[in-house]
């Protein structure tokens, strides 16, 4: 028997109260034939094409937006995009990034504007490839490549330095340090006005005797 302050709810309210939830009916123990259906599944699967990839021999391309090794990008004239702001390091949940910024000078300029990343390290033993650093980067200096073969045999080798992460110099670029494109200011770089290096900035890669350096 129930206590007096609890009043029995009328049966009719069962139907009207709230939304009806979908329930899986319980028919008790399934029949032997039903239980044996699994044998058919495994047997049929034997004749399906396996999904195995022959990895070292055949490298199947990753999805285009796969989070692989990072890359520090360059402006079209070869100057680095990184401004040493450390936002990537602050965004990193795994504390894998270490950045030290420094001032650009007129004699030694690595990036347009005031500052550049003098030291840039990513510790791939810590990195979880979440991509928050990429989202944090205000200049699109830091992006991720599709490269995933990052295994190595020592901890030291897995701390990537700036020279490991920098994008290679492409044809038409000039290896920094060098001046900005003549007659431009920092903001012109971000407006996409610089499309290639000027001969006055230095030796252009891909012309004369210079070679493409990684």
């Amino acid at each position: 028997m129930m206590s007096e302050d609890v009043v029995k709810r009328p049966e009719a309210s069962l139907e009207t109260a709230g939304e009806e939830s979908e329930l899986v009916p319980n028919d008790g123990v399934a029949s032997l034939a039903k239980q044996s259906r699994g044998f058919g599944v495994t047997f049929a699967t034997m004749f399906k094409k396996p999904g195995t990839e022959q990895y070292p021999e055949e490298k199947v391309p990753t999805a285009p937006r796969f989070h692989g090794r990072h890359q520090l990008n360059r402006h079209p004239d070869g100057l680095e995009k990184c401004i040493g702001c450390e936002l990537c390091a602050w965004a990193c949940p795994a504390d894998a990034i270490y950045v030290e910024g420094a001032e650009n000078t007129e004699e030694e300029r690595f990036s347009p504007g005031e500052r550049f990343g003098r030291v840039y390290q990513i510790n791939y033993l810590r990195c979880i490839f979440c991509g928050l650093c990429i989202e944090a980067c205000p200049t699109r200096a830091l992006t991720m490549t599709n490269e995933y073969e990052l295994a190595d045999d020592s901890r030291r080798k897995l701390i990537f330095e700036k020279e490991d992460l920098l994008a290679p110099l492409r044809v038409g670029m000039v290896a920094p340090p060098h001046d900005m494109y003549p007659g431009t200011r920092e903001r012109d770089y971000y407006r996409g006005k610089i499309t290639e290096a000027d001969p006055s900035q230095g030796e252009i890669v891909g012309t004369a005797s210079s070679e493409v350096t990684p």
Partner: protein, 426 residues
């Protein structure tokens, strides 16, 4: 007729010179070891295909040498004996496990009459008049390997695993032995070669179908294989009785497990699938290759059984321990006891020359009784369900989580003193 062939096989083997027995035992040993290496590879490949993978394909053509590579790897591993272990027993246990599993294969008839190095013989090491009992007893001795391994490890998980597997092997041995009784009754012999010889018309898998089913289930339990691999339930017991074993001693347990699988498969082939005999209607093939073609029949049946083991492993999840024991003791053993009694009665009737009417009447009576029992079970089950339902329909007035798989739902009233039924209610 049966006794003629029996005498034939026994005589044939009796005339073997000593060197031939040595050669044959060596051949059996090599056959088993090579089969184990291939079985490991085959199992992993087939299970992989069932899971849409490729399986080992690196070592040798199609990965065929994977078993060998595994063996070499194990041999090169450090051999650890825990400080708490009883050293003598710890070393002895894998030896017991590995030797006993090879011993049972001695009485398996693998071919009919063949000539080996100019001698007329059969590819069977020895023919005992109690061959099947010998296999059962050797299998029981094999349990010592497991128990002693678990006990001597000086560690908790191996001990629990060993207790589990010994309880399991012993329980399922009962059902297994009972299922074999029907075969003994029909063949009139316990010698493996006699049993094969007596299946010249009908395989016992067909004549004694329930026995075949019971044996097939209990042989999986007997060998500690999935879905009855409770002794090695990784999630519960780490590795079971061989947790503390490494290197070659572990390899011996591994070897023993696979040889045991092959042995029970060979026994099943011998007792229920006509052993080395050809499929019905293909009897002429038994004379091909000077009788050695019978070995191919044996081999094919053995492989079919092994495939069945793999198929089970690929399909079924592991049983819970209590369900497993309940199944063994409360279902398998009573069913096989009942079946044995029925078979014995039928056999006695036919031997005593009872008329067809009596036999048919007896069979009909048995079927009727079984149906009656089944219907009683059904009605009891239904009653239980009704009771359960009425229990559930008592709706509680406090918030409770919904019962899993329950058809009825509970809803909590919005206000506890919601007295008036809504209009149009009921």
């Amino acid at each position: 007729m049966i006794h003629q062939t029996a005498a034939l096989t026994a005589d044939l083997l009796g005339k073997d010179p000593g060197w031939l027995i040595l050669v044959k035992s060596l051949l059996v040993f090599i056959f088993l070891v090579v089969m184990v290496l291939l079985a490991i590879w085959g199992e992993r490949r087939v299970v992989a295909r069932m899971q849409m993978r490729l399986g080992p394909n690196r070592v040798g053509p199609f990965g065929l040498l994977q078993g060998l590579a595994d063996g070499v790897k194990l041999a090169l591993k450090e051999d650890i004996i825990p400080k708490a272990a009883d050293r003598v027993v710890f070393v002895l246990a894998p030896i017991i496990a590995a030797t006993t599993c090879f011993m049972s294969f001695a009485v398996i008839p693998m071919t009919g009459e063949v000539s080996l190095f100019g001698h007329k013989t059969a590819f069977q090491l020895t023919d005992l008049s109690v061959g099947v009992l010998y296999i059962l007893s050797i299998a029981s001795v094999g349990v010592y390997g497991i128990v002693l391994a678990g006990w001597s490890s000086g560690s908790t998980y191996p001990l629990l695993g060993a207790l589990r597997s010994s309880a399991q092997v012993i329980s399922y041995e009962v059902a297994m032995g009972l299922s074999l009784v029907a075969v003994f009754l029909y063949s009139g012999s316990m010698s493996t070669s006699d049993i094969v010889a007596s299946q010249d018309k009908w395989w016992y898998a067909i004549v004694l179908f329930p026995s075949f089913i019971i044996y097939t289930i209990s042989m999986v339990g007997e060998t500690n294989r999935a879905p009855f691999d409770l002794a090695e339930a990784e999630g519960e017991l780490v590795g079971g009785f061989h947790t503390e074993y490494s290197s070659l001693k572990f390899a011996l347990f591994f070897l023993a497990e696979y040889v045991n699988v092959l042995t029970v498969s060979a026994l099943a082939t011998t007792l229920f699938l006509g052993g080395y005999r050809a499929l019905p209607g293909l009897g002429f093939t038994e004379l091909w290759l000077g009788g050695w073609f019978t070995f191919i029949w044996f081999f094919v049946k053995l492989i079919a059984f092994f495939f069945f083991f793999i198929w089970l492993r690929g399909t079924l999840p592991r049983l819970r321990y209590d369900q497993f024991m309940k199944f063994g003791w409360k279902i398998l053993i009573p069913v096989s006891l009942l079946w044995t009694v029925i078979v014995a009665t039928l056999r006695a009737m036919s031997l005593e020359g009872a008329s067809t009417a009596v036999v048919v009447g007896f069979t009909g009576g048995i079927v009727l009784i079984l149906l009656l029992i089944a219907s009683l079970f059904e009605s009891a089950k239904r009653k239980a369900e009704v009771a359960l339902d009425s229990g559930v329909s008592e709706k509680p007035y406090f918030a409770v989580p919904q019962l899993p798989m329950s058809v009825s739902t509970f809803r909590v009233p919005t206000a506890p003193n919601h007295a008036d039924p809504p209009a149009g209610g009921n």
